[in-house]
Amino acid sequence: MRAESRWLELGQMDDAARMDSAVHRLDPRAKILVTLAFLVVVMSFSRYTLSALTPLLFYPLVLIALSRVPLLPLARKLVWAAPFALLVGAFNPLFDREPMLHLGGWTISGGWISFANIGIRFILTVSAALVLIATTGMHRLCAGMERLAVPRVLVAQMLFLYRYLFVVSGEGSRMVRAAQLRAGASALSLRVYGTLVGMLLLRSLDRAERVHQAMLARGFEGSLRRLDAHSFGWREAAFVLGWLSFFAVARVWNLATLLGSAAMRAGG
């Protein structure tokens, strides 16, 4: 079932985030800023751009390599996430038949090029987001967001959301399993569903109440103070400046074409 495998995936990302590497150790703010810049740069290319986008693949690949997070789970997620974008993009070749490229005897329409462009964009933006979370982890990401002036309420409850995802969904899946064993069907009837999800809801409300008591018992007074060993030092500055200049260069010059013509000059 999809849902079950999703929890496995969540765990894998969590494992990846708890590895240790130079990339993991960077202040999360640096990674957030670079990721945002990367996304804006990718987005800013025209929809018929193909080759000029390829150098940007360096960013996720280099980070994956340096951080040594496992590639396979990330790739699998990329495949899972693909259908909607590709489905919508698949209309392009249908509607946009204007010839755009002549390569030998072949004519390629603008629709196919923009379709391929959607594919590359998709790979770039999704892998950047996955790399961010796989090398940072939810709790460091939250700390970074808080220091980047994201409202505290949002960040604090997001931490709780992530923490209790595992608890509440475990509770939920046990209840569903019990109901399914008795009902024999995989989807629940509306009545059973209402009772089961309603029970889960009430239990979650009680849980929230107990968590709040546990917080009060340890001196909580409204604001969440956290351990945060990160600081924005020269490593972070170098990371941010380095990548930003690479993105700028890749935005202004088509590095792939330059490389290609250099290679062809050298070859021919």
């Binding site: 899972w80 987001a129 997001m158 999800v197 309603g198």
Partner: protein
């Protein structure tokens, strides 16, 4: 339905990020004002609940189909619109990060489509009036059903408008809308039935849970809410009309009609012009020509594509392939170095 990164243009993505960020700051302030410190763990655990509930499927009698809770409306009923909006935003952010649902660029769109419409439109303008004081079980169920349908229809319309306005796909507005709206009517009904079933249970088991959100919310925040609504409507309307006016042939996106250096026909309106100039500066719709001279390609390397010539095309392809190989090679080398250094150390 999640809006996807690959389909969003900078202008649309940026606009909706801005709208969602504004709503987030407004909601965070409103929640802080409520000064209910118990609300923070409650919001978090409820977010986890919605996440878990989205994985539990309900069978819809007589259809053979199944669906699940959307959550936005349920959260608004339990927590109030502002807190619900924040929780939905977090849920969508976690989904974007961990499951690559949608993605980060489209996160603004998704928060708007799935958070705003449910919490700030369907809940106060449909659910509350129809449910009334909550004394009648039938009215509560009807309210949940209607509000879910409204939220889903608006959300789907949001996806359509954002996709078409981004202009990355060739889909026409009418085609895409005809595809999306009926599907989301069905999804809305399923979600509505699921929500109504849960609410019916909670009403019987612990009715006080459904009464925690005071109504009306204090007048100040109401004004802010409606101010926000108005601003959002203007924003959406502005984007739409700009879009419609730049494509006079109905709402059909046909990029090839814009070739040959033709300027966009803009109404005399500063918002429109700003949007358009943002669009131009970020070069999502760069002018191009098919038979352009090599000279132009040379002059403007950044847009070598699609201002193509056979020469740049081939070098682009060769270069693209080389770049890919290089990127992979560097990846492998870095990894190999790292692990051997670790093995040595």
């Amino acid at each position: 339905m999640h809006m996807a990164d690959a389909l969003v243009s900078p202008a649309v993505g940026g606009t909706l990020w801005a709208a969602s960020a504004a709503l987030t700051f407004y909601s965070a302030r409103a929640v802080r004002r409520q000064a209910r410190e118990a609300l923070i763990p409650l919001m978090g655990v409820m977010g986890a609940f919605v996440f878990a509930a989205q994985m539990i499927n309900v069978a819809i009698p007589g259809t053979g189909s199944s669906g699940h809770l959307g959550g936005g409306l349920m959260l608004a009923i339990l927590l109030g619109p502002q807190a619900a909006f924040l929780v939905m935003a977090s849920i969508l952010a976690v989904q974007a990060l961990f499951f690559a649902d949608g993605g980060l660029l489209a996160l603004g769109c998704n928060i708007f489509n799935l958070g705003f419409f449910g919490a700030f439109v369907a809940y106060p303008l449909v659910y509350r009036p129809v449910a009334g004081d909550g004394a009648s079980a039938k009215r509560c169920s009807l309210a949940a059903l209607l509000a879910s349908i409204v939220a889903l229809q608006l959300g789907a319309l949001g996806v359509v408008i954002e996709t078409v306005a981004s202009g990355i796909t060739e889909l026409r507005f009418s085609t895409f809308a005809l595809l999306m709206q009926p599907i989301h009517l069905a999804v809305g009904v399923i979600e509505g039935l699921a929500t109504a079933a849960v609410i019916a249970f909670v009403r019987r088991a612990r009715p006080e849970v459904l009464l925690v959100v005071p109504w009306p919310v204090s007048r100040g925040s109401n004004r802010l809410l409606f101010g926000g609504l108005l601003a959002a409507t203007l924003l959406v309307g502005g984007v739409l009309s700009w879009f419609a006016s730049s494509h006079p042939d109905g709402l059909e996106w046909s990029i090839f009609k814009l070739t040959g250096g033709e300027e966009l026909a803009l109404p005399d309106d500063s918002l429109h012009q700003q949007l358009a100039s943002l669009q131009e500066r970020s070069a999502v719709l760069p002018d191009y020509s098919f038979q352009s001279a090599e000279a132009e390609a040379e002059a403007d390397e950044a847009q070598a594509w699609p201002a193509v010539s056979a020469g740049t095309t081939v070098s682009g392809m060769v270069g693209g392939a080389l770049t890919l190989c290089l990127a992979c090679a560097i990846g492998f080398i870095l990894r190999w170095q790292g692990s051997s250094r670790r093995a040595a150390g």
